[in-house]
Amino acid sequence: MPITSLFLGAGLVIGVNKGVQATSTSAYCQSCHVHTGADEAWLKSPHFSNESGVRVGCAECHLPPHGSFRHFRTKVQTGLHDLYAYHFKDPESFDWESKQQLEYAVTIVFNESCEKCHQNLFPLGLTEEGGKAHLYYEANAKELELHCINCHLDAGHELPNYKHQKMTGIPVSDESPKEVYLEPTTVTRFENFTEHIPKTSVSFNMKAIEGGTFQMGSTDNEPLRDPDEGPVRTVKVSPFFMGEVEVTWNEYWTFYSQTMSEGRLDPETVYANNASNVDAISGPTPPFGNPDQGWGSGNRPAITMSHYAARTYCQWLSRVTGKTYRLPTEAEWEYACRAGTQTPYYFEGDPKRFSSEGLRNRLFGVDTVNISSHTVYRINSGLKTHEPSNTRPNLFGLRNMSGNVFEYCSDLYATDAYAQTESNITDPKGPGSGSEHVIRGGSYISEAADLRSASRAFTETEAWLKTDCQQPKSIWWYSDMKGIGFRVVCEPAI
């Protein structure tokens, strides 16, 4: 009797197992998944063809390791989800490109599954850099929650512009012949102007922002606010010029090409050299990978540079134009963002209706009408940055103050920064001490709540460098933060 039931049980296990196996083949996956792009990219990836001859199919990466309970549970969950999507959703509505981005990919690629096959992280022929990176991974993977695809995003699907190596050369986005500016623009009056970077064809627009007084921060009754946005202060801001858009790759690569430092100077030497302001400016070292993430450069906002790199950019820009460029203070930034409004956004709308959080909006849909034309954020970005030209400006003519990329301010961050000063203040510059800087405006990945004019955030140096295996870690490039850029201000000459 026990023997029979054992056989029956075994039979059932074998039967279910066969079913599980049959529904985990790549052909089975591809019979419903109508993402021809992903299939083609898989065919061009090292997981489809490589020297070892091992071919890795869909389920081997997109499910936890076979034989684990998590494998079974995830298979049921994703299976039901896929079944629903197949029958009730329009395949045309899927944004496959956004699903290639790391933020989404980490949710559907299982690191245990990578490690199940890649048990030896030190194969013969591994480069010195590879050895160093994998030793770092081994020592830190758990604590820092490192994922293989942090660095090997193209392992399963080809990403044409993705690079897993140190960048060489200087990216040039547009080689068509253009006017080369001999001199920087001369500014004689306080009005909008177009700056020219001498000896290049690069220019950008600066908006004259009249000084004024405004209520900085948000009151307790503003929906979805955070406590660090108060208490509200009456702040007077002196006039300044501000970039119409976030600093573009065209501008940033120009800076890079003129200041790049190839040698590995230690940070203290770089800081000391640049602080002296006598010698040539030591600029960024070559980044690892492609800092534009393969999304394209040109007029897209430059991203992933450190706060120090942004400050050094301003130092360089001041030198080549003979003006005083710098990062905005937090007060200048919010004043410019509000552009005279005291509402949650510089356009009309209720944060609660824009937010993708909350049951009501999940059930009945999110209001995207007005916000979508003014910002690049989670709902409309496809998980990447966009060129600023399609976004509507605020009343001062500034684009993307909200969304696209977070922007650096010169202030250090403190939760209680506003409570540290008088409630009436002129040109505040932030707390005297702190370790992280203020960033403002939300990014392409942000929730509507974080796009509000008063919303504050801060740099997270350690987390943003978690996959940088160098010591000392780069002072120029963040390895693990993509939605960060900056906008320059220029001080009017007295």
């Binding site: 013969l124 010195e128 030793l135 010591q471």
Partner: protein, 451 residues
């Protein structure tokens, strides 16, 4: 169902019983010392080597010697002494005189003849040895060359004996760490020259400490304080490179300084017994009386570990000072001490709880014993691999050395990822413009230097 039947049936269904080794008594039990008569770990569980007098007979093994100086020649003789059917068939070195001297000794003392055609000279001579049909190589070159030679030997699929230390800088250590994994993957035997790990007295003491004889471990000391060590004066006919290599011990880029070359023995014992790797180190040192080269002659390093654990390591090579070559491991119940032909455990009331009996159990020197274990591992396919251990202990030494050279606190994460590399990248007998005789590192900043 009977228990044994149950195992059989479940085996049929493909269920498996985990075979992991479980210590009989948990090692973290607080009353560990009370149960010291009942050993909680067996020698097998801790991986104790056989300590056989001779390696077992088996397939004849042909070895190539890379580095034919005094240590290399000694290692070759000890290899030949380790068992039957062992031979040195090829020699690689940079200097013909050292190679010929080695060849003569092997012939005279061990009747081991090396053919003319199997004596290779030059910086890439080791590659020619690796191309031969040898089973293993003995690497006994100046430390700087270990990482690249070890990596190449692993890639060539040879079993390896490698002298300590593993390398002189973090770049080299990472090379060894990576190649060590590959060697494990390929099933190669790697025995290293930190000979205390192949000595019976240390192993008996290790068993005591692991089984709770000193309670929970709190701290350690590691000392190699001796008189002035050998050095060679430069001769007019020698190029910079020839001088550096002939006087390699005293040259930073070749030996990594004496906190590595000698101090690593004691630091390795502390690392082995405690099982800890430091979080940070503060170091002190200088060059008081050394006659040649560019290294220090005294060091003191204060290592900090997780949970407030600590190690003090010192190294000195100055005549007329007290000598002390020893280790100690302090626990909550007692302290383990080593000294010259002494090894004992003493509690805080001054009672001797254990000591090694050298008369009843004479100790074969680790220099000889390690070759017995090497040959045994190859012939019995035991896949002993000590490369990672010596690489990590060497990195602990490097961390202390850099702390002393710079006057800065050095963290483990920092040294592990550091791009610090010493020495030229291309090797030829000729000038070395970056080498400065007599100029050792000076910590800190010149008081007269502009801020």
């Amino acid at each position: 169902m009977k228990r044994r039947d149950f195992f059989t049936s479940s085996a049929l269904l493909g269920a498996s019983i985990p075979l992991g080794v479980t210590p009989l008594v948990s090692s973290c039990s607080s009353n560990g010392n009370k149960s010291k008569n009942k050993e909680s770990y067996t020698p097998e569980q801790l991986g104790m080597p056989s300590f056989a007098e001779q390696a077992p007979d088996g397939k004849p093994l042909k070895a190539g010697l890379i580095g034919c100086g005094s240590r290399g020649t000694g290692a070759a003789v000890q290899f030949l002494n380790a068992g039957n059917d062992l031979s040195i068939v090829a020699l690689a070195d940079v200097f013909e005189d050292r190679q010929q001297k080695c060849r003569e000794i092997l012939l005279k003392e061990k009747n081991n003849k090396v053919e003319d055609s199997m004596c290779f000279l030059g910086f890439d001579a080791y590659k020619k040895v690796l191309d031969l049909d040898v089973d293993l190589v003995l690497i006994a070159t100046p430390t700087h060359f270990h990482p690249d030679q070890f990596k190449a030997a692993v890639a060539a699929g040879k079993h390896i004996f490698m002298e300590k230390p593993a390398g002189v800088d973090p770049v080299g250590i990472r090379t060894v760490l990576v190649a060590a994994r590959q060697a494990v993957d390929m099933g190669l035997t790697v025995v290293t020259g930190n000979q205390r790990r192949n000595q019976l007295d240390y192993w008996q003491a290790f068993m005591q400490v692991k089984n709770g004889a000193i309670g929970n471990v709190l701290s350690a000391t590691a000392h190699w304080n001796q008189g002035a060590w050998w050095n060679k004066l430069k001769r007019p006919e020698w190029s910079d490179m020839e001088y550096n290599i002939r006087n390699w011990f005293n040259i930073k880029w070749l030996s990594g300084d004496h906190l590595l070359d000698q101090g690593v023995h004691n630091i390795d014992v502390a690392t082995w017994f405690t099982g800890w790797l430091p979080e940070k180190a503060v170091g002190y040192g200088g060059r008081a009386r050394r006659m040649t080269g560019d290294i220090f002659d005294f060091f003191s390093v204060d290592y900090r570990y997780a949970n407030n654990k600590r190690m003090m390591a010192t190294a000195r090579q100055i005549d007329g000072c007290d000598t002390n070559v020893s280790e100690s491991i302090m626990g909550t119940e007692a302290v383990f001490y080593t000294g010259r032909k002494k090894m004992w455990i003493e509690n805080f009331e001054g009672e001797i709880l254990w000591q090694y009996d050298y008369e009843t159990n004479p100790v074969v020197g680790g220099h000889q014993q390690e070759h017995v274990h090497l040959v045994e591992s190859i012939r019995l396919n035991q896949k002993v691999n000590q490369a990672e251990d010596i690489a990590l202990s060497t990195l602990v030494s490097i961390m202390g050395r850099e702390a002393a050279y710079t006057g800065r606190e050095i963290t483990w994460d920092e040294i592990m990822a550091s791009d610090l590399r010493y020495g030229p990248t291309e090797y030829a007998l000729g000038p070395l413009p970056d080498y400065e005789e007599g100029v050792a590192p000076i910590p800190g900043r010149d008081p007269k230097a502009p801020l």
